[in-house]
Symmetry: C2
Subunit: 135 residues, 2 copies
């Protein structure tokens, strides 16, 4: 998507109900297949940067700074549509995922499941993390 006007971005940020740490959870969903890829967190600047740059940019709680998804791994999420919920306290990014979303090299981060009564890994590694992170 092309960048909205700055007043539109300001309006979105004013709508969002950030938590006491100034964050809101953000779900990334592959726009065409519907696959839920991951959940991360956004602060005001992450939302602004995501809308301006047209790619998913989160706030990394572990690094304490903005995290341009794919900045290290190349596994960028191109923004297709920015959505949020009825209570204004969760964001849903429709994205086009380059490669894989998960740092383990799986397409989606949600690869643990209870299936047939057992805890099971339901997705395979499709890219070696050593290749993603040049270790």
């Amino acid at each position: 998507m092309s960048a909205p006007a700055s007043e539109t971005i300001d309006g979105v940020i004013a709508e969002i109900a950030f938590d006491k740490d100034g964050l809101v959870p953000a779900i990334a969903q592959q726009h065409d297949t519907g696959e839920v890829l991951m959940l991360a967190w956004m602060d005001r600047e992450a939302i602004r940067a995501t809308l301006v740059e047209g790619r998913a940019i989160y706030y990394s709680r572990s690094r304490g700074r903005l995290w341009r998804k794919g900045e290290e791994s190349g596994q960028v999420q191109t923004l297709i549509e920015f959505r949020w919920d009825c209570d204004n306290d969760c964001v849903l990014l429709q994205v086009d995922q380059t490669g894989v979303a998960c740092h383990t090299g799986r397409r989606s981060c949600f690869f643990n499941a209870v299936r047939d009564g057992k805890v099971t890994t339901i997705a395979e590694v499709v890219v070696d993390p050593e290749i993603l992170y040049h270790r």
Copy 2:
């Protein structure tokens, strides 16, 4: 899904990384269409009850108690599969949603979007909330 053995449920709860309030975000996704319906929160007992009863049961932060989704509105979420992510700090419920997920009477809670540069409501009310909540 049928209820897993209690040791399996204990194992899942032991895996999950709850936040300092003892909660974890839980995304509900319609299992066949892939539609992201809502995000709510779960504590240990909500996860146990969800797996035992085979329906989505959340911890309502506003009510300060377990919330059996649909207990008032009848809009139950039957559990199809329980999943969680690589960091163990987010749950993804595959569900079969009866009726609508959103208290506004929309199918999904994520009906606000930036589309064509404007803030837009992208989903219609399909059930009158006065009918859902018998007001």
